[in-house]
Symmetry: C2
Subunit: 173 residues, 2 copies
């Protein structure tokens, strides 16, 4: 079975990184629970919204993002049984490309360069499973789409859902 | 029709760049005609072979590579009729990722980030046509594979072949 796994908000806690950067700069106390059903930029004061939207274009933003839960352990087990690829729609943020490659070197070195994909559209992927937080990626995928829960997608009911990596393990191992 | 186009040795003259870097440093006079059937590193003195193999890991190597023939004009025409993606197996060279993104911004700005793919294996691509110089990429592609001529592949007869971008135009326009 060929499985594609998204990076941001699936194995890397990018939503939390947005919150941390903003809280640190402005002394606010946002948590994910404040943001259900919204992108983080929609939660902050109007005058800061563009700044939050621009986080991902800044050098360094993707460098130290924390790993989500036990993603690394489960992906290692998936990789022993299946053909696993990491597929990130990173081409929108050219500054992030090398940082994302280095992040994977650090956290998932067992997924080698041959199984890493930085792309735009994901409907060009040919495989069996896509684990992704974004509905627009899942909608156009030919195989089984699993929506990984992120604050912005909690109200979506269009896809099979996984709240955490233990659920992924029970679905695919 | 969905068309994937490789970068190195298809739209970017990477083979010539290898030759230029080596000739400039060692005062040699290699041309492509000296290299038919070989990778460029196989053509140089044994003591320089590893250095040539390491070119692609060096910062700046991909920055100023010349465009091959009328690739830009033909891709612009293809893009008006078909769904066109650039797909480069760049993940092997993390230093190249941003340079390749900037090269595309410079030469093919009409192919936006949504239609750019930096990957390893190419058998994960779902589409109708792959234009590539490498036999191992063409072998595992589900659709029509067109081998773009490069010095290293001149003796291969396994695939439909295009020597230049006028041939691509006549095949796909």
């Amino acid at each position: 079975m060929r499985i594609f796994i998204d990076m941001d908000e699936v194995i890397a806690d990018t939503y939390q990184q947005h919150i941390n950067v903003h809280n640190q700069k402005y002394g606010t106390n946002f948590t994910k629970a404040d943001c259900y059903g919204k992108e983080f930029w929609m939660c902050v004061a109007e005058k800061h919204q563009q700044e939050v939207r621009d986080h991902a274009y800044q050098k360094g933003f993707f460098k130290d993002i924390p790993v989500i839960g036990n993603a690394v352990e489960v992906i290692k087990e998936l990789e022993a049984k299946h053909e696993v690829f990491i597929a990130s729609a990173a081409m929108q943020f050219p500054n992030s490309l090398q940082e994302k490659s280095e992040w994977l070197d650090q956290h998932l070195p067992f997924i080698t360069w041959k199984n890493r994909i930085l792309c735009g559209h994901k409907h060009i992927l040919k495989g069996d499973v896509l684990i992704d937080d974004r509905s627009y990626n899942l909608q156009h995928f030919e195989g089984r789409g699993i929506q990984f829960t992120s604050p912005h997608n909690v109200h979506t009911t269009d896809f099979e859902r996984a709240d955490d990596w233990n659920t992924i393990a029970s679905l695919l191992l």
